[in-house]
Subunit: 451 residues, 3 copies
Amino acid sequence: MTRMTSIIKGGAAALAAGLVATPALAAVDAETAYVFNTFSFLIHGALVFFMAVGFAMLEAGLVRGKNVASICLKNTALYAVAAIGFYLVGYNLMYVDVTGWIGTFSFLYNPSEAESALIAAGADAATPEQVAAVIEGGYSVMSDWFFQVVFVATAASVISGTVAERMKIWPFMIFVALLGAFIYPIQASWVWGGGWLTEMGFSDFAGSTLVHSVGGWAALAGAIMVGARKGKFGADGRVHPLPGNNLPLATLGTFILWFGWFGFNGGSQLALGSALDAAAMSIVYANTFLAACAGVVTAMVMTQLIFKKIDLTMVLNGALAGLVAITAGPTLENMVLAMLVGAVGAALAVLAVPLVDKMKIDDVVGAISVHLVAGVWGTLAVGIFGSGSFVTQLIGVVAIGVYVLAVSFVIWGVLKATVGLRVSDEEELDGLDKHELGLEAYPEFGRGSQL
Amino acid sequence: MTRMTSIIKGGAAALAAGLVATPALAAVDAETAYVFNTFSFLIHGALVFFMAVGFAMLEAGLVRGKNVASICLKNTALYAVAAIGFYLVGYNLMYVDVTGWIGTFSFLYNPSEAESALIAAGADAATPEQVAAVIEGGYSVMSDWFFQVVFVATAASVISGTVAERMKIWPFMIFVALLGAFIYPIQASWVWGGGWLTEMGFSDFAGSTLVHSVGGWAALAGAIMVGARKGKFGADGRVHPLPGNNLPLATLGTFILWFGWFGFNGGSQLALGSALDAAAMSIVYANTFLAACAGVVTAMVMTQLIFKKIDLTMVLNGALAGLVAITAGPTLENMVLAMLVGAVGAALAVLAVPLVDKMKIDDVVGAISVHLVAGVWGTLAVGIFGSGSFVTQLIGVVAIGVYVLAVSFVIWGVLKATVGLRVSDEEELDGLDKHELGLEAYPEFGRGSQL
Amino acid sequence: MTRMTSIIKGGAAALAAGLVATPALAAVDAETAYVFNTFSFLIHGALVFFMAVGFAMLEAGLVRGKNVASICLKNTALYAVAAIGFYLVGYNLMYVDVTGWIGTFSFLYNPSEAESALIAAGADAATPEQVAAVIEGGYSVMSDWFFQVVFVATAASVISGTVAERMKIWPFMIFVALLGAFIYPIQASWVWGGGWLTEMGFSDFAGSTLVHSVGGWAALAGAIMVGARKGKFGADGRVHPLPGNNLPLATLGTFILWFGWFGFNGGSQLALGSALDAAAMSIVYANTFLAACAGVVTAMVMTQLIFKKIDLTMVLNGALAGLVAITAGPTLENMVLAMLVGAVGAALAVLAVPLVDKMKIDDVVGAISVHLVAGVWGTLAVGIFGSGSFVTQLIGVVAIGVYVLAVSFVIWGVLKATVGLRVSDEEELDGLDKHELGLEAYPEFGRGSQL
């Protein structure tokens, strides 16, 4: 149908039906708002969940063929392990009665008593008081939990990419369990739990710092502790590229992440039950989209100018860096600024990749450049273009960075000293798939296992 | 933004706007509930639709390279064929005037007269009576049909994986058409159509039995009738693994299924137009998620202990078995129980795979272990942890199993005796892609067609 | 739960809660309608966005291995470039004060003043007048923009598939920028902007003509101007098939497109804030689904009869042709008609592929047959089965065809005469990945780069 004439259809239908007696009543009622808020958490949470396989495909495409099954396994398992850790204790540490520095240490997180009572009563027997007790919360308890839990694994997925192709599975899983249960929730309580950083005025809308740079810091510590892959850095100081085995998979992964990011940022509006929230959420969607577009174009132009060839993996990372950068403040009401934030994020990521190499830190998929560097930039950008204070933003970035880096070094260090972090040289040469999993990702495609 | 302060935003905005005159009116009106219920069917139905390619990728990854295009074709075509069968007669057999054992044999299913009248009148001319006649139904007729039709193909997808690599395309399609038009709807009418099993108290929230084990029973009959692939079972009784050609595709497929399962289970709440429904749907999402996580961890630990290596395909099947198991009763209000249901489902699937092999039943992707075994477990678990009776649950499982198995054996038998079920030995050796489709899935990747 | 008993749950809960004082008030209020309309744009827009990677995977699967990375890059970059062009000037040309033939030439498109004022006031301080000023629009400004921008890239994606494997990246990007900024919005203003074609009665619900055939015409001009791939057409006039390298990827891409099409067509209802809109949107979903199913079956049967083998790529294109065909008029209230529209669309596409070959036009993925031929058919079908006039539909098809074809020839021609459209023969032989990107898509999989 013609789009102009349908603009007013929604309201018009109600009016035409003669059912709206008093225009003064034309507002969202509390129960409807509860449903909207809850449904936003569920649908957006499902989109964020889907990012898991975005990371899996991105990383499966960028490692060598002999480590593909292993990285698929890690990405599947980290989701389960981080989520169970978050269910057991993480959510309570992050959100329940936060003292300023930490929430409550207690186990499990289940529906509220009011919700259970309403469900037990059933639709036909529920009293108005039972309904009112539920909708008072603004949204369903488990919808919020679901939306929160799917964020945890994002931080863990960042790490798996950086330390791919040489880290053992089980120590990695131990780290992920601790990340989901303790490391991530404690720092997140400082901001999203209403702790000291929020009281200071620090702002991170959907987690440039709280999610992405947390993953980046932990990955950085892990990459240093586990060391570089054999052959990555020559004795003469030269960097040898070890190209990814399957670039369409990496492209697929990037687009799945981009798609899921509408849930990541859009859902972080945390409410949909009013015109204000719906309008604000729309701005978040548009900014998220355009920041990624700007990141793509920036990486294209930069790699063309610097390398004389467009680098596909850099362009994909440019999209992701744009997304990471806008995540801290996708509320800008002039989308040109969002594009600027995304473009600078992508530019910094493109420049950071060779720098990280120069520091002899072996980051297989470029996750440190994308999630840490662009994440820091995006958080600071809130202090430049957004409503935040630059100094406060910087304090938050540093505080969380120091905390995560320190804790990560300790944990990686203990794991290294006890169970060991790294597979043997022979296992690394043959590939993790053969030794850790006893199979090949592509058993029929020839040279995969010999590379 | 800080998450704590935004909790009450939805309702607060309405109140702040001063538009809600009387808090006593703060409930979802009937037309809004109609829109919520309808939109839930549409969005969740789209997610369930997407599971089609989850099955396609899972199966394409787990067959050998020479049969990849054929399994892609089967998964694409089965969707179309099952859906058209369901549109032509299946929906009516399942839902319209169910006598207890079967619905109505009549053709097609289109919008209601009330809906057509409202749409014909248009937004500007519709009368309040016309609107009322529509919203009386609670949701739009075709949104419900859409949500139902996307379930049919799930059962068919289970079969295609089990009988892959040796069954001809056209007899398979004939079976699928009969499944979508008759086999699936008739047994579903016993429960979701309000028939005799529902009257007895049998409960299957989203189809552990009605969808997954139905596919599993039909697959079991098909596997027995078509026989094992050449080379799977040695003359000495040994089982020879025939490894899947592309494990990242299998990983992708598993995650797409997991993603779509939020629609499968979440949408099966069948309503979103009240706080009660929204709260209940959130519990379903959380349980679905955690049951899969528990399945992943269970399969990881079991394969590590039993085989001394983590088996990626078992871990993927563990996630799916957890999802299948929780599907009958994802309403548990203590998520630990959901994790237990998922973990046991995964454990049973891991144990069933070698058992099925031992019975010389060749199930290419492990679908019988995942969909039938875990589906039976999940249905019985409703009688253990949920509100159902164990005996009634068992009666439902057995009744549907006997019915589907018997009908399937007859149909597979007739097809075998007439058009034949199996490709020739030469065709099987060369691969179905070459003979049935006249092409290769990966024509440039070397040995694919010789394996 | 049993599906029959839950039908009335939504409304029942509200009634049971005793909160609905007067049934006469049971209509969607204006603010709730605003939220529904906005959320429909956002979620459906995200689904349409996801189609980008559907095209990318479809095309990556259907080109040869040596051009896979290049087609991934083009599909990523075209999205960014077309979107930025549309943000800068395109949206305003399409929707703002359309004179009949064109909208307004002005830069950027940001939230309305009313929305900014409401957001600045915040939930606690917003006045009823501020809320009313926002909801008057019916939906949020940026949600509409987001839903519109994701359509632009679809047209561009059609082109990239046709001219794959021999066109240079940068001239392609220049064309895409002009498409997103000018070519697409100007013709779209004639219909969706309320211009002369809408005034004449032309109808194109979601873009069989405005999106798909526009891409098809531009692709046709591009294919003629850039010429065929080396080796496609023999000196003796014979057509040599150059088979796609990865059919599961093509299958994946097709299903992602099908999934996203629910957003494409469903969201084009443009409103969700009433029972009428929800019922109409459900019909759109069901028709979209069934038209694709009919396309699949039609292509299966036709290729079996004509070639004696089922052609997987034709079946995938059959699904897409069914979807393209139904896009102009998915409002048919008898789904059999929708199946007929889809089946004829698929049949025409199957017949068009060899015809296009015979005309020595080299369309790598069959996009002209699918998007142009089926798009024209679908638009005309609105004049046969739907409410439109056949002559008016034909006028629209021809007018937009002539415009896009003429402008495209001029732009491709200028690009050819200046920067050149085509890579060198050596580059084409080696593959675009090696020369334009300096890498390989599958560096470990053997012969990819030599083919």
